[in-house]
């Protein structure tokens, strides 16, 4: 049995899953300390499912906590920043283009040191151990215990970053070090930014993960704890403590993965209809299609991969505006005030929910309180809502033919039957806790990024070697040997370079190897060298 938990802005959802069966689910308010809500949600599903803590094999938690900390600039550490790339890079020092307040808060000392690699693996400059040691000493002397290390082309060759980590460990053993090759992909500024943000989250991560573990222990659970990453795969609690920035965007991904699990459909459009917006994503082979836009976190540019989500202004609380013959659907909404403001709940604001119930597409609240709309007006509004939904689907799908659509979220009834371009609409049970389900069923993942020269190594051989390396990383991250499969590959040929050079990214996932309960304290301490 597994427990999946999703900590959202408003609610903390939990599910208890036994194999493929959802045994129990719960929705609790999210608490300020986060772990309070988590404990309440887990306690509820254990009770509802009449399950003994010892029967739980693993607990998976997805949370937006670290995103919020970066956006709200709460409890961030000061960071010593080391970049190994000189003489290159000095025109754009670290913290370039950061919002001033955040740069002042997080920026400790900056060291631009020789090093880094060229695209073909040559060194830009040799590693200077003395200068790295001096930087570590300076950080120690100034009480800076969080250090971010980045170097040019680190995703291709991590050797210098690893050497720097060893030197720092010897000189400043108390330091917690974040290495860029474990955090991000090609794009020095974005990757370095992600690494600095990660280092700034160190103390908070240690505190939050520890409080999760205490909550589990307090409930008598000794199962290992995993945390969802932004691509929906899991990392161990220990790994999440080291790399909290990798957990920032798991919500939408878990929601979509949960939708896939609940329906058994791996390729579909997913519509998560909330109170104000409907988030539309594309599931391909069970994973969300990724966005190619840069991701700004707290005003800092990063290149983390996030799901490609189209948000349209349509939700259960969306206000319907009728001005004579003029009809406007939102985008304003009563949001979570729906239980006071909509007609169904005794208010006097016409919302999409009111119209849906009036038209017979949903059944909740008090329909006797609905205003006399008239069939024509009601149907016109419903048709307009359906047109918005159909347009959103059309914008997201990539195959010309009809596609399956999975409708989840509290407002899923707004996705009507008989829409053009839709093969079938799936409305799974437990749709309101799809994100907790996604966390619970998640697999272990690993990514690999290399620049390969097909003139040096033939393409099939190079790709086969990368597949093997990716599978090995999945096992190292806690995956079951032999369960790893490549779920995504991207190959970009590099113009302006000689030969047939390509940048290849592979993503592999595998099932969790070890679901056995552990006696005594602690999560599985997996040393995962995880590269995005």
């Amino acid at each position: 049995m597994r427990i999946g938990v999703d900590v959202g802005g408003t609610n903390t959802d939990a599910v208890l899953i036994d194999g493929l069966r959802i045994v129990a689910s719960s929705k609790q308010p999210t608490t300020a300390d986060v772990s309070g809500g988590v404990a309440a949600a887990i306690r509820a599903v254990l009770a509802d499912g009449a399950a003994a803590p010892g029967a739980v094999d693993a607990v998976m938690i997805g949370t937006t906590h670290f995103t919020n900390a970066l956006i709200e600039r709460r409890r961030l550490d000061r960071v010593g920043i080391i970049r190994l790339a000189s003489p290159s890079g000095e025109a754009l020092p670290p913290l370039t283009a950061w919002p001033d307040a955040l740069a002042r808060q997080v920026g400790g000392e900056i060291f631009l040191l020789p090093g880094g690699y060229e695209v073909d693996g040559r060194e830009i400059a040799p590693f200077d151990e003395d200068r790295v040691r001096a930087a570590a000493q300076a950080c120690r002397a100034r009480g800076i215990d969080r250090i971010a290390v980045s170097s040019a082309f680190a995703p291709i060759n991590a050797a210098m970053e690893d050497r720097a980590a060893a030197v720092i460990a010897a000189e400043h053993p108390a330091a917690v070090v974040s290495l860029s090759h474990s955090i991000g992909r090609l794009g020095l500024i974005e990757r370095e930014n992600g690494t600095i943000l990660n280092a700034a989250l160190s103390s908070l991560a240690a505190h939050v993960i520890a409080s999760f573990e205490q909550a589990l222990a307090g409930l008598g659970l000794s199962a290992p704890l995993y945390i969802s990453q932004n691509d929906g795969t899991l990392i161990s609690a220990a790994e999440a403590t080291r790399h909290p920035v990798l957990t920032i965007g798991s919500g939408p991904t878990n929601s979509m993965r949960g939708a896939a699990f609940l329906t058994g459909v791996d390729d579909a459009i997913v519509m998560d209809v909330g109170g104000t917006t409907c988030d539309i994503g594309v599931l391909a082979k069970g994973f969300p299609r990724e966005s190619s836009l840069s991701i700004d976190i707290g005003g800092v540019r990063t290149n983390f991969r996030m799901p490609d989500i189209l948000a349209i202004g349509l939700g259960g609380g969306t206000r319907i505006h009728r001005d004579g013959a003029d009809l406007r659907i939102g985008p304003d909404s009563v949001g979570f005030h729906i239980t006071q403001d909509s007609y169904l709940f005794g208010g006097s604001t016409l919302t999409a929910s009111d119209v849906a119930v009036a038209a017979g597409h949903a059944d909740f609240g008090d329909p006797t309180r609905l205003p006399p709309l008239g069939a024509e007006a009601r149907d016109a509004i419903w048709r307009r809502i359906q047109a918005m939904v159909a347009d959103g689907i059309d914008r997201m799908k990539t195959a010309p033919g009809p596609v399956p659509v999975i409708a989840v979220g509290g407002g899923h009834f707004l996705v009507g039957d008989g829409l053009p371009g839709v093969a079938r609409i799936l409305r799974p049970p437990h749709a309101s806790v799809a994100n907790a389900v996604g966390a619970a069923i998640a697999q272990v993942g690993a990514q690999l990024e290399q620049i390969v020269d097909y003139d040096a190594v033939p393409r099939e051989e190079a790709l086969a070697a990368m597949r093997r390396a990716a599978a090995e990383r999945v096992v190292a991250a806690g995956g079951a040997a032999g369960s790893a499969e490549i779920v995504d590959m991207e190959e970009i040929f590099l113009s302006y370079l000689p030969g047939r050079s390509a940048q290849v990214r592979m993503k592999a996932v595998g099932d969790l190897a070890d679901l056995g309960p552990r006696r005594g304290a602690g999560p599985v301490a997996m040393e995962a060298r995880h590269a995005n």
Binding site: S86, A91, V119, A152, I189, V282, S294, D308, T398, P400
Partner: protein, 367 residues
């Protein structure tokens, strides 16, 4: 016009559009330009008409792989070193700089040199858009010499190229950029003020700023950024026709390397099942066909943009599933002349068809 920090993002946005699918990601160029203004303050954009006949004007830009340019960043000393060496060779000080190519990141490149030297940027460039090779610049088309030309890299290496043949210059420069790690700064086609006035494509820098500003202002006002883009382009006079050719999502994409360039095609399905557009590219977009009929041809500009934000998507960033609008613009008149078409027209890129203007292919007013 004084170029202030607040205008740089507009310039980057407009330059990205003028890249016609190429020119790399302007974000890093924007950061470099902002850092330069931060250090040295704002500087002047001057009209070509204000140049003395015998002024020394130097086109600048980066040559190399966009993928490398986002990892191996400049030291910040390249532009100054290259220009100082050129001044030594020419025996006189440089009076002004300009972009060799307005399209993409190179549209902002000379700002770094301008800031460090304390000279103005001339409101003109050498291509009016982006092209993959240096000899496609208008200066070569008009018979001017690329050399003496100076390449500099972040490691401090400096190379002077002297050859009478501009194609040889491009080949040497390209090889050097590879030897230097994949990216280098280049100053080339040193011009007199008279030559700049006669041959450079005037108004392209201010056109890029105006275009970028129009998109930003439209977004802020929740108006259609594409309408604003088209209107701003036409108003520049430099790109007299602009059309939104297509609106759809990417359903197929083929890319491979041929001769060191990213070559391929992208297929876009119209929304609601309305037809299909296919664009062939060689770094830059070359030809756009709708249901088999040609709608735009190089040197006219074809740019793929995100249909919500009007952000430009370069050919390297095209991805399956992206929701896009395809926008075409007439190339500056000088690029449509027969001597230009020999070097930058469809046949120069191996397309088996002669050039036809955008406005004729689409039955537009003013054709």
């Amino acid at each position: 016009m004084r170029i202030e920090r607040s205008m740089l993002a507009d310039l980057a946005r407009g330059a990205a559009f003028l890249g016609s699918g190429g020119g790399g990601d302007p974000y890093y160029s924007l950061l470099l330009a902002e850092a330069a203004i931060e250090r040295h303050g704002a500087f002047d954009l001057i009209a070509p008409d204000s140049l003395a006949d015998d002024a020394l004007v130097v086109p600048c830009g980066w040559i190399g792989a966009p993928t490398v340019s986002v990892e191996k960043l400049p030291s910040g000393r390249e532009a100054l070193a290259g220009i100082r060496r050129l001044e030594q060779i020419m025996g006189r000080a440089v009076d002004a700089v300009m972009p060799i190519e307005i399209g993409g990141g190179n549209g902002l490149a000379p700002l770094i040199a301008a800031a460090e030297l304390g000279v103005p940027v001339v409101d003109c460039d050498g291509m009016g858009r982006a092209f993959p090779e240096s000899q496609m610049a208008i200066f070569n088309i008009r018979g001017l010499k690329a050399c003496p030309s100076v390449l500099t890299a972040s490691c401090g290496a400096l190379t002077v190229i002297e050859t009478d043949d501009n194609l040889t210059h491009e080949r040497i420069a390209r090889s050097l950029s590879v030897a230097l790690g994949g990216i280098a700064h280049m100053v080339e086609y040193p011009l007199t003020g008279a030559e700049a006035r006669a041959h450079a494509i005037a108004g392209s820098v201010s056109a890029a700023i105006a275009t970028g500003a129009a998109i930003r202002e439209a977004r802020a006002a929740r108006a259609d950024p594409f309408d604003a883009l088209a209107e701003a382009l036409r108003a520049t006079g430099l790109y007299p026709h602009c059309a939104i050719l297509f609106d759809g999502k990417i359903v197929d994409l083929e890319r491979e390397t041929r001769g060191g360039f990213s070559v391929g095609r992208v297929i876009i399905d119209g929304f609601g099942g309305h037809g299909r557009m296919e664009i062939e590219f060689q770094n830059e977009n070359l030809v756009a066909r709708e249901n088999g009929a040609i709608r735009a041809l190089v040197p006219d500009l074809v740019t793929v943009m995100d249909r919500e934000t009007a952000d430009t998507i370069t050919t390297e960033r095209l991805k399956y599933g992206q929701r896009v609008k395809v926008v075409a613009a007439a190339a500056p008149a000088m690029l449509r002349e027969p001597r230009a078409l020999r070097l930058v027209g469809p046949r120069a890129f191996g397309l088996g068809t002669d050039f036809a203007p955008l406005e004729e292919l689409n039955g537009m007013r003013g054709a």
